[in-house]
């Protein structure tokens, strides 16, 4: 059968993510040590695991309400209030999703009609543009630059807004650059958006992993922005709960209602055991977040210093658990660099162009690894750079 004539042209035209492609290359090399994962090296907190076992033993295995357990939505509402002083109504303004990813998917699908433009700062996580394409929208990348500390600037935003602009994805703290948007940065963005009908999809999955004295701030906290922002977050990164697949969105009730419609048909309800465990995560695991943040922060300093010592230019990230050094000085493309590095010195890092064309010339290194692992990998990279004469 010629499936190419059967399968959706739109889907066939989508490419696999650059991360996925690089995984296939790295997996073919033996004894690779990786600095490529986008998930914590910590296990989910013990209390969370214990609660999941208890819930399973009680046989709580039925569907929950479409929007998620009422108790969990209340806990999320309380959590958001504590962090942002915004009180989202637990019954109408919060939806529990299968990871932050589903919340991104739902919000884009709820907003986009054919031809609508979605602004996507890049380099950024790989899923936004493909989802926009699937709903016949137009993904409009906005390049963020090293000289701006990879922040989205009001100037760049203005230049890309057209009458067709429907939404702006705001992915900070950023994967892969580690950039964050501080209050004054967000105020400048808000000033551009306040008089428009553009909705901000604020992907804040790394919000707990913000380093330095100032905590993460959401654009929803800026004057006039709450009514035009969908806040997306989840349990994967902050609570080391990637495999539980649990996230959420908080937004004006009109938006959540439409998202709920799609969620109800596509998913029904998020995994029940994960939802119960997530209540425990929110209520009891603040200390685990603190501990993990402290560990990441030390590794962050170590790896930035280590990479700079290797002679690579590296922006000092203030969030997430990645660094995004430039490899332009080697004269290689990101793909060449990463393929050669993994093949000759068995260290896997992700080519920057996997996160948008403007990521070319950079690599993403994750520091969600033990100190020992990081130091071994840095040593191999030192040898690699020496061997290629950089």
């Amino acid at each position: 059968m010629d499936y190419s004539n059967i399968l959706s042209k739109k889907v066939q035209a989508l490419e696999f993510s650059g991360i996925r492609k690089f995984f296939d290359i790295a997996a073919s090399v033996k004894d690779v040590i990786s600095l490529s994962v986008g998930e914590p090296d910590f296990k989910s907190p013990w209390e969370v695991r214990k609660e999941a076992v208890r819930i399973l033993e009680q046989g709580r295995t039925a569907y929950t309400a479409n929007a998620g357990l009422a108790e969990l939505r209340q806990a999320i509402s309380d959590y958001l209030y504590k962090r942002s002083s915004i009180r989202y109504d637990a019954s109408e303004q919060i939806i529990v999703t299968v990871g932050g990813s589903e919340a991104i998917d739902l919000s884009l699908r709820a907003l986009i009609d054919t031809g609508d433009e979605v602004l996507i700062p890049q380099p950024s996580f790989v899923c936004y543009a493909p989802i926009v394409k699937l709903v016949n929208g137009v993904a409009v990348p906005i390049e963020t630059k090293a000289e701006d500390n990879f922040k989205l600037t009001a100037k760049a935003l203005k230049e890309h807004i057209t009458p067709k602009t429907k939404a702006l994805v705001l992915p900070f703290p950023n994967n892969p650059t580690g950039a964050v948007m501080r209050k004054n940065d967000l105020e400048e963005i808000a000033a551009v958006l306040r008089d428009t009908n553009i909705i901000v999809i604020s992907d804040e999955i790394y919000s707990e992993l913000t380093y330095g004295n100032e905590r993460h701030i959401s654009i929803s906290q800026i004057d006039g922005m709450e009514e035009r922002t969908v806040v997306i977050n989840g349990f994967s990164k902050a609570f080391a709960m990637t495999g539980w697949r649990l996230g959420f969105a908080a937004a004006p009730k009109e938006i959540i209602l439409q998202m709920l419609k799609i969620h109800q048909y596509a998913i029904m309800s998020s995994p029940t055991v994960s939802q119960f465990a997530a209540i425990t995560a929110l209520n009891e695991c603040e200390k685990d977040i603190e501990y993990m943040r402290g560990e990441y922060d030390m590794r962050r300093r170590l790896i930035v210093d280590g990479v700079r010592e290797l002679g690579l230019e590296c922006f000092e990230p203030e969030g997430a658990f990645y660094i995004f050094p430039s490899i332009k000085s080697t004269g290689m493309t990101s793909q060449e660099f990463c393929e050669k590095l993994v093949q000759t010195h068995k260290v896997a890092v992700v080519p920057g162009d996997a996160f948008g064309a403007c990521g070319e010339g950079y690599i993403r290194i994750s520091y969600a690894y033990s100190l020992e692992h990081i130091m071994t990998a840095l040593e191999r990279m030192r040898q690699f750079l020496k061997d290629i004469g950089a």
């Binding site: 993510s17 991360i19 996925r20 690089f22 995984f23 790295a26 997996a27 690779v32 990786s34 490529s36 994962v37 986008g38 998930e39 090296d41 996580f125 790989v126 899923c127 994967n175 402290g294 030390m298 590794r299 300093r301 170590l302 210093d305 896997a348 992700v350 033990s370 100190l371 020992e372 130091m375």
Partner: protein
Amino acid sequence: MTDKERIINILRQDARISNEKIAVMLNITVDEAAKMISELEDEGIIIGYTAITNDEKMDKNFVCALIDVKVSPQVSCGYDGVAMKIAAYREVSSVYLMSGGYDLSVTIKGRNLREVAMFVTERLAPLDGVISTTTHFILHRYKEKDKMFTRNTDERSLVSP
């Protein structure tokens, strides 16, 4: 967590890490790091640095035993006198005072079974104050000083979003 606590955590993961790297991680100067470490040493909080070895790999006959020792406490110094005497032996790698059914828990290492047996019967049991000993041979070690004897496998995918 204080900087000193962080330093201890780092050194417990890797005691050979340089002061420069510790300074980078804590965002302090190398001199400050060195000063804190020597303070920790002076205060007797850090009592030494040692390699954690897998002796079974070096010597197939190597044995390690845990010995429960019952002791009659002395009027002048309680258990300390006997404990210090036992601790002074080169073969002994740890001595703990225990709650429960016996008093001292002693870990000893020897090149073979016989060496351990001789140590217990000739040196440990006859000591003044020692009432009885029970020797447990360690069959296999899985973890010591926070380190696993087998390499931890990372079950995460090699590359992920």
